[in-house]
């Protein structure tokens, strides 16, 4: 594959906005998408779709997967295999496995990672009647709405910890950790804390960042745990600026506590960085207090040679 072209893995909101930002700055790009559609999980997000609609002119190679095999990174499609040396991961969140989330017990049918629940629902298929969604965030609420529309009878969102987000009244939110699944053929119940919830379906909607491709830059949900569509757009702008920056000098970033900073490597000419903390709260950036109640903030770092970020009130 031509090394002058920036290969973007994933045509979700961040992959597509990154493509637009890079094209605007005169870069060449190719956007590769595993699925037969674009939009990723933003497809059920009204705010995100308004942005996506404006990106429909960006060419996307559908059903073209980036895979890592035998120590190499390849782009594979119906028309063959291409080697990829460098690119940008925009493949979105990873949903940890039930075992990783501490959910043990039986292994019946009816336990779906978020994306599978979404893919099947988008195909017009009904994934269950009484559904527990584990994880309390923008996407679990959106999926709950979608499932209710698709005919699910009861939906419970299970929040592993207190999260400051609004939920519509018709969706019940329970607090606790899912510890076990019970069911021989199909899910019969899940154990939340010490109480049993009778459902036929469990959707895991807890999200983590990840980058399976070495030498790839990373953007969007694959890079930071943020939930506002605007935050994804910001990561694309920042990465594009960072890539356009000629200088190799860097701004030193020191972080204390559970704070994520984007991009990971901040070049000198980058004027702004994104700070994320899903739990919200306030942080201090070089002594200045910043509000993270939206889960993220973009702060000015122009002219600084180093930045120190810490959680306020700890």
């Amino acid at each position: 594959m031509d090394s002058g072209v920036n290969v973007i893995a994933g045509a979700g909101l961040s992959g597509l906005t990154l493509a637009r930002e890079l094209l605007d700055r005169g870069f060449q790009v190719r956007v590769l998408e595993l699925r037969r559609r674009v939009g990723g999980i933003s497809i059920i997000d009204g705010d995100a779709r308004r942005i996506l609609d404006k990106l429909s002119d960006i060419p996307v190679e559908l059903e073209k997967a980036i895979v890592r095999v035998g120590g190499r990174t390849l782009a594979v499609s119906r028309s063959g295999v291409e080697g990829v040396v460098r690119g940008i991961t925009a493949i979105g969140f990873r949903v940890p496995s039930p075992a990783e989330l501490g959910i043990l017990g039986d292994r019946p049918s009816g336990v779906f990672p978020f994306h599978v629940a979404l893919d099947l629902t988008m195909e017009g298929l009904s994934i269950g009647r009484r559904i527990a969604i584990y994880g309390y965030n923008r996407y679990s609420v959106l999926l709950a709405e979608k499932l209710l529309e698709a005919g699910a009878r009861e939906i419970y969102i299970i929040a592993p910890e207190k999260t400051p987000i609004k939920t519509p009244d018709h969706i019940e939110v329970l607090e606790g950790r899912v510890r076990r699944v019970k069911g021989v053929a199909r899910v019969e119940s899940v154990l939340v804390g010490s109480s049993i919830l009778e459902v036929d379906t469990l959707v895991t909607a807890i999200f983590k960042t990840w980058n399976p491709f070495p030498n790839f830059d990373v953007v969007g949900h694959a890079a930071v745990e943020v939930y506002e569509p605007q935050a994804l757009v910001e990561t694309s702008k920042l990465l594009a600026d960072n890539m356009a920056c000629e200088s190799n000098e860097r701004i030193g970033v020191v972080v204390e506590g559970d704070i994520q900073v984007f991009p990971r490597v901040v070049r000198r000419c980058l004027k702004r960085i994104l700070i994320a903390r899903p739990r919200g709260g306030r942080v201090k950036v070089n002594g200045v207090s910043v509000d993270l109640s939206m889960g993220y903030a973009v702060v000015d770092v122009g002219g600084l040679s180093s930045v120190r970020i810490s959680v306020e009130g700890v």
Binding site: L34, V67, V69, L125, S126
Partner: protein
């Protein structure tokens, strides 16, 4: 009514190997299994290790394990199954263990080398070279272990059996057996079958089938739990060096798989149950405590699963004719290391059937089942085209063509596709592929999505 020379109850590793060896010798065979796919019993939830000897060393179990171990190279070569020989390293990671190492070395050398398995000592530096992730001062190395891709083995055996003419009655439960002078009548949930001989390889249910023919045995399920990590942590099987272990904490190791993952376990749970294949927090805690002392964790836990070992009341394998008739051969209590022993069990059972009057023909060549999956081709740097290039599961590089091959190979459930192709078995556990896999499986088989099941009856996926 259909009549066969031999009906085998059970399509686990044992039943399949018996059917395979019989059909190679021109015997007409039917296999009956209550599950929708072969190998969905005990044989789907084990650790895939080909073991060496098993204490007590004079047991049938140990003798058959040693023999089975020696038969494996040929078996996997014949079928083209993924497989690798390796060592087991018993690692000393504290002063007490280091102190008992020399003594244990001498004992193991005596016991193992007379049976053809070499035993050596690995010093600290060499241990770090061979196993950079292992924390230990020294280790005893036992040769002759192997790891096998057991799903590959099960499904290649199934395909080989089918092309050798074995008839499979899947989704069919044996409810009764009637032995008379010149034949065996087998009642099932889908009609009856007649056979000259019956082989009972019914795993956890082998006691029930045995009882139908007047053979009183008892089988209990002993649970073992395992964790799977999405990266290789070791090259060999690694386990702490200990002399005596309490029940409940015993057993298992850190085991590499042929497809690049690592298994921790299995343990042996202290409670006994025939049905419960659930994983418990206590079992996971035991595994984490036991193995995080000796290996550095690499990768993420992607799965926790458990299996049930069918253990007989004697604690040993029981392979015997029914007391009233030599037309029935019972294979009862095939717990660990039954996968290892299975080829030797098949040899023994064939011999018993021959002695009971079954005529065995000359050995026929099995069909060649070698093929390259999309992942194999990509690893080898080969090009792929058409449906092979349409990747459904990016973590394991599984394509539409691989799913189509699974369907041609007889997959009737989504798990059947998963086990045959490794779809959804990688780091993202199906996040990007299970939706599409269901749609494509439905399209290829002509079964509507709402009638597709995950594994067993009633395991619907969508409505």
């Amino acid at each position: 009514m259909e009549r066969y020379d031999v009906v085998v109850v059970g399509s686990g590793i044992v039943g399949l190997l018996v059917a395979y060896e019989l059909s190679k010798r021109g015997v007409s065979v039917a296999v009956v299994d209550e599950n929708l796919e072969p190998g969905f019993g005990v044989s789907k939830g084990h650790a895939s290790v080909i073991h060496v000897i098993q204490p007590p060393f004079s047991s049938l179990k140990s003798v058959l394990a040693v023999h089975g171990n020696k038969l494996y190279d040929r078996l996997v070569g014949e079928l083209g199954v993924r497989y690798r020989r390796l060592k087991a390293l018993l690692v000393a990671s504290n002063a007490v263990q280091l102190a008992i190492l020399p003594l244990l070395y001498i004992v193991l050398k005596l016991l193992y080398e007379t049976r053809g398995f070499k035993v050596g000592i690995v010093g600290g530096r060499e241990l770090r070279d061979v196993e950079p992730n292992v924390r230990g001062w020294a280790a005893i190395a036992v040769d002759g272990y192997a790891i096998v891709d057991s799903f590959d083995l099960i499904y290649k055996l199934f395909e080989a059996c089918r092309s050798l003419g074995v008839v499979f009655h899947l989704g069919t439960r044996v409810t009764g057996v009637n032995v008379s002078q010149d034949c065996v009548d087998i009642e099932t949930t889908r009609g009856s079958l007649k056979a000259s001989f019956l082989v009972n390889a019914a795993g956890l249910n082998s006691d029930y089938i045995a009882l139908q023919t007047g053979f009183k045995v008892r089988v209990e399920g002993r649970r073992g739990s395992m964790l799977v990590f999405d990266r290789l942590q070791v090259r060999n099987i690694v386990t702490p060096l200990v002399l005596l272990e309490r029940r409940g904490t015993k057993g298992g190791g850190v085991i590499p798989t042929t497809w690049g993952h690592t298994i921790w376990g299995p343990n042996l749970a202290s409670d006994i149950s025939k049905g419960d294949r659930g994983v418990y927090h206590e079992d996971v805690a035991v595994l984490l405590r036991r193995f995080s002392r000796i290996v550095k964790v690499r990768g993420r836990i992607i799965k926790a699963y458990a299996g049930l070992r069918p253990t007989s009341h004697k604690g040993d394998f029981i392979i015997a004719y029914s007391p009233t008739s030599r037309r029935v051969v019972n294979i009862v209590g095939i717990d660990s290391p039954g996968l290892t022993a299975a080829p030797a069990i098949a040899v023994m059972v064939l011999d018993m059937l021959r002695k009971a009057g079954l005529k065995l023909g000359l050995k026929r060549r099995p069909p060649s089942l070698r093929y390259l999956s999309t992942r194999d081709k990509l690893v080898l740097g080969l090009s792929v085209q058409g449906d092979e290039g349409v990747i459904v599961c990016p973590c394991m590089s599984v394509s539409l063509a691989d799913i189509a091959r699974a369907v041609r190979g007889g997959a009737r459930t989504l798990d059947g596709v998963i086990f045959r192709t490794k779809l959804a078995m990688g780091s993202c556990q199906g996040q990007h592929c299970l939706g599409r896999a269901l749609i494509e499986f439905s399209r290829m088989t002509g079964v509507e999505p709402r009638y597709v099941v995950k594994g067993g009856e009633g395991s619907w996926i969508v409505e």
